[in-house]
């Protein structure tokens, strides 16, 4: 366990170094959140009756999304890992007395966390002071907040377990770019990163809520803003747990099978 903690620490501290980039990121994300809210406001003012949630709930969702972008950005994959597969440096990693799945998993979580730590506070602070209904209001309740925190961790775990599948798939292809783009666009769309899941047509919503993608960012954010009441939130968290178990089990098994036949080419 200790070695995983050090992997985590190394990646985490390395991630904290990019402070100027973080400030640029914060301002970018702030403007992005602002534009998204203006966009939805245009729809809201056109026909308020069709809005599936309260406007303040949507604003909260969009601000959380921007604040925790580092945590849930599907397109981010560790370039070092992908590089090590293409360059063959993975041979060294295979010699180490660690479980590769565990190592990569911890590294990924660490990078995501370090990015979020640098970026989330300024956005959350400013969003909290914006006038209602455009700002981020307090969580729907104490219980909602507790469930939100739990759900955030599980969401990160589900997403990381999903990215692990992409890493393993890169063992089997010469260039993993194609699969990556496909997987990432699926996650973006179905996880509610483009438009929140409540805005999908009703029939699709039911299906989407059961898919693993909803377990990433949609569940925690909707719990926070109170769209998902605590009573239902517990079931959703159980679902997150289930998806994490399934995805990580598939990842571990698939990786074990792939590693048995891995051929590092010369050099």
């Amino acid at each position: 366990m200790k070695k995983y903690i050090s992997f985590f620490r190394i990646r985490f501290v390395a991630g904290l170094q990019y402070r100027a980039a973080a400030w640029a990121g914060v301002s970018t994300q702030f403007v992005w959140g602002f534009l998204s809210i203006l966009l939805f406001r245009a729809f809201y003012e056109t026909s308020p009756g069709s809005f599936p949630m309260e406007f303040s709930q949507l604003s909260g969702y969009l601000w959380l999304q921007q604040a925790f972008l580092g945590m849930f950005m599907a397109w981010f994959l560790d370039p070092e890992i992908l590089e090590s597969v293409t360059s063959g440096a993975i041979a060294y990693e295979l010699c180490r007395p660690v479980n590769i799945y565990g190592m990569w998993f911890t590294k990924n979580v660490a990078i995501r966390l370090s990015r979020t730590v640098l970026r989330c506070l300024p956005i959350l602070l400013v969003a909290a002071f914006l006038p209602s209904p455009y700002g981020l209001s307090a969580p729907a309740g104490v219980l909602s907040f507790v469930l939100f925190v739990v759900s955030m961790f599980l969401g990160t775990a589900v997403l990381t377990a999903f990215s692990m599948l992409i890493y393993v798939s890169s063992f089997h292809t010469v260039s993993s770019m194609g699969i990556r783009t496909l997987a990432v666009s699926a996650v973006e769309f179905f996880s509610g990163a483009l438009i929140p899941i409540p805005f999908f047509p009703d029939a699709m919503k039911t299906v989407l809520n059961l898919l693993p993608f909803a377990s990433i960012q949609s569940t925690p954010f909707l719990i926070y803003v109170g769209y998902i009441p605590p009573s239902e939130g517990i079931a959703r968290i159980a679902l997150q747990l289930g998806w994490f178990a399934v995805l990580s089990a598939v990842g571990v098994l698939w990786m074990r099978r792939s590693l048995r036949r891995v051929v590092v080419q010369g050099g």
Binding site: L38, G178, A186
Partner: protein, 258 residues
């Protein structure tokens, strides 16, 4: 110009060495752009219109911006990935060759996989054209082409500014994404829906509205000012300050020495 096509051919051939990856990536870009379209579809399925514009109206904006962005991204990719030219020292090699810098940066890289995004725009476009309520005359088709060309010019100028900034700092360039990716995302809708202040900003500071909004108003018949159709040309003038800024940065360029 001959040389340009020669470079184009070479880059295309080298890309074709990895055919499977090329097609997968193009498919990926098709799907990314398509999910953007699907998102809009679901929103309009629920709301039917936004501030007086129908779905079919808005699709015209969507295709113009997506066309322009994909073309600019494909051919002006060299500026978009300019920081890597500086970091690798490739720029020093470019500077000692007897051709213009802009020409060489343009030919240093092209991203043909953006054909996927282009394809999405085409599909949406073909679907939207008969439905958007415009009766197409020769003049209106010309305006539409101008809109796309104007868009390519503005996006190219933005990439050039981005490259200009990378002379001064390698970090913190992320904020330029608001203008490039942001325009690609939010420019799918007529810019006026975001409110008056933003429309002014996007008219005079970053001239997105001259190619995306005003001619669009004329096309869908919300305005009868024909001269709106010529505004994309005015927007294209944005290339001049962008180029000046790039030259300004280039003058101050100190090699990284690698």
């Amino acid at each position: 110009m001959n040389l340009y096509f020669k470079y184009l051919g070479i880059l295309f051939k080298s890309r074709m060495q990895y055919k499977a990856s090329f097609f997968m990536q193009s498919l990926g870009h098709f799907i990314i752009a398509f999910t953007g379209f699907a998102g809009m579809y679901f929103l309009f399925d629920r709301f039917h219109a936004v501030r007086g514009y129908t779905f079919q109206n808005v699709l015209l904006c969507f295709s113009v911006v997506t066309f322009a962005f994909s073309i600019a991204e494909c051919f002006v990719r060299g500026f978009d990935s300019f920081p890597s030219l500086i970091r690798s020292g490739e720029l020093d090699r470019i500077l000692i060759r007897p051709r213009s810098v802009v020409f060489q940066v343009l030919t240093s890289r092209m991203e043909f996989t953006r054909v996927g995004r282009f394809l999405t725009a085409t599909v949406v476009f073909i679907w939207a054209i008969p439905r958007c309520g415009v009766d197409w005359t020769f003049g209106k088709v010309a305006i539409l082409l101008l809109m796309i060309l104007g868009g390519v010019a503005v996006f190219s100028a933005l990439f050039m500014i981005y490259a200009g900034f990378s002379f001064f700092t390698v970090e913190g360039l992320e904020f330029m994404n608001i203008f490039t990716d942001g325009t690609k995302e939010f420019g799918r809708y007529p810019l006026s829906i975001y409110g008056k202040e933003l429309l002014l900003f996007y008219t005079f500071l970053i001239p997105i509205a001259p190619f995306q909004y005003y001619p669009f108003l004329y096309l869908i018949g919300h305005s009868d000012r024909v001269w709106y159709g010529l505004l994309p040309l005015a927007g294209a003038l944005f290339l001049i300050p962008a180029y000046a800024f790039f030259r300004f940065g280039l003058k101050r360029y100190v090699s990284t020495g690698s």
